[in-house]
Amino acid sequence: MQQLISFATDYSRYVLKGGTKFYTWMGSLGVLMLGMLYVFYLQNTEGLIVTGMTSQIHDGLYFANLVFLVGVAAGAVTIVFPAYAYHHEGMHKVAVLGEMLAITAVIMVMMFVFAHMGRPDRLWHMIPPWGIYSFSSMLGWDVMVLNGYLILNFVCGFYYLWCKYTGNPINNKWFLPLVYVAIVWALSIHTVTAFLISTMPSRPMWFHSMMPIRFITTAFAAGPALIILIFLIIRKNTKFWVDDSAIKLLTTIVTWCLGIAIFLTLSEVVVELYARTEHANGLYYLMFGLHGLTRLVPWFWSAVALMVGAFILFLMPSFRNDFKKLVIPCVMAFTGIWIEKGMGLIVPGFIPSPIGEVTEYYPSFVEVLLSLGIWAFGFFILTILLKGAIGILLGEIKYGGQAAAAK
């Protein structure tokens, strides 16, 4: 118990220590979070009318971000898997950072779920024994696997840090099996998210079995791309050194997952547009516009340009091996996938509507601000989690260590 208290106090004391750079960063995130609180209040008193959603297009920016972030959470497995299954040295050192990212992403997903619901105050209806759990609903499963993933990563990540902190050996008897369960679980969360939308025959654009594999490949491109960026920032700003080998392996994973994702997208385009049935209208709207409505066309083509461009850059050794230039394709891949899998996938699923109605959707200021706020909140927790974890990995937070120093 005493160890636990000192863990918490040491941890927070370490996290709170920081230069002006750190406080400016956290402060600006805090401002965005305040904005988020305001618009969330607004949305819950006025209703969803303050968003751009309608009865025709009833899932928008929130749902898009939700789907994308589940991918980021699943993408963390690209660190944990090589670390534990292949005993990759460089990865093993940083595996816990991946778990911290997963925790953050799942928390953000939950916040987007709250933002998305028309009646967030009734969410307890999903939780037995007070509410009802429906086994036939994909959303029910999604919430369940996400929560499971959160718990798994929380237990694995913090148990590891705890052992480092106290200096106790890790009990591999249950730790390793749990890690393997978490790896498989990561796949399940994104598969269920894909099923969430691909099991609706009323929405032809989503109704195909390629969705889960496309989701996994884009997740394993976007997730590690973000992780590479984070690692590069860590290398620059802290004493902690992420091995080159870890970043190189992640780069390889991003490249080939991105390649497969592009290939799958291409296949879909060919299949849909060759015969160009009525069911292809959603995709057609996305690529070229429909009935003169073209709002998403620039989004789609920018996503294509970003993803293909990033893939080409990743293939070039001068970019791949130069960690300064590596930032560019990583940012490109991340944004490209965010566009493609977010607005580019969710919104055209509703255009045209099942009765053939063509309408458009634009996120309102409230939606943009709320989404920004949730992202800010995500980076806020991520900073806290990563900073503490690094402190422990470096040995700067240690049981008895600081107490002794203080005396």
Binding site: I49, S55, G131
Partner: protein
Amino acid sequence: MTPDKSPSADPAQEKPSHSPTQAASADPSAPGPTTSRRGFLKAGGALSMSSLMGTAALMTQSDDAAAATEWAEHFQKNYRLMTDAEKAEARTRLERRYSSEYGKKVTVDTTGPQPGVLMGYALNIRKCIGCRRCVHACVEENNQSRGTRPGEKIEWIQVLRMERGEFAKDKMNQGYPEGLGIQVGGNAYTPAGQVLEGQYRYEPEAVPEKDATYMPIACMQCEKPPCVKVCPVRTTYREADGPVVIDYNWCIGCRMCMGACPYWARRINLTTPVLPKEEMNPVTHYLGNRPRMRGVVEKCHWCLQRSRQGRYPACVEVCPVGARKFGNLLDPESEVSKILERKNVFRLKAELNTFPKFFYFYD
């Protein structure tokens, strides 16, 4: 004009006396189970007491009542899992709140499905003249939101207006290698059956218009409803007598059902519905047309407040050409059963295996 072998009220209960032709709002005091009526009388007493104390006092009083009611409503169970006593309680609570909110006696019916009844609907596609009276009657009967801001106006029925004359001479030469250079037919450029936003809200001067055909749609009350399958909290479900209903007090507004419905039958209340006091229809059913709240989904339920009392849904009653038919599918003598037996019948999007109980026919 009652539907043949109509779903009649429980004999143990007092039979409501309204005739099918009576306007919906004419009889607000439709009697219910005695227990709840006693509660209702008590509430009415409290109400008149407070009205003696002046409007301001009434306002505060009703505010308190509303707050207390909302609190209780917030923690009530899913309607299907409630015991009869709990249902009666919920009913009294709602009747009291709605009555004070709308300034008239509001009844909330809780009549359940009657044995031996499976409701069905048939529509003569040839007869529809596109007057959209069904749409307006439905809005009035079922207390839909009347607002003017986008998203505040809710209509459950749409009468899709489709252009006739797809093929035209002047299009003959269109479609020669163009764009990608592939030959397509000249008349293939106009998409059939597509509507732009709100095109089903047309206001013609005279109906039927010469160059249009009409396709009315609403919830099909599917036998295998995809909307029910995806609901994470089992808010929406199929009743034993057929209609798919929603417990508005239990819906979390996740809109999964709206995504799954192949007929675009569901609407989300983006904000608190705009329902003027004087236009509110006080004869309501718990699973039917009672006033909805912000953030929940709603749709057609074949006017449960009427059909469970042996009356036709409002749209059937109002249709000037008699294109709409309603009745018991299990009764071979009912009008719908006879139509299914004798006419050319089809269902929409049959390939999706939703088995609508809404049939289109022509003769």
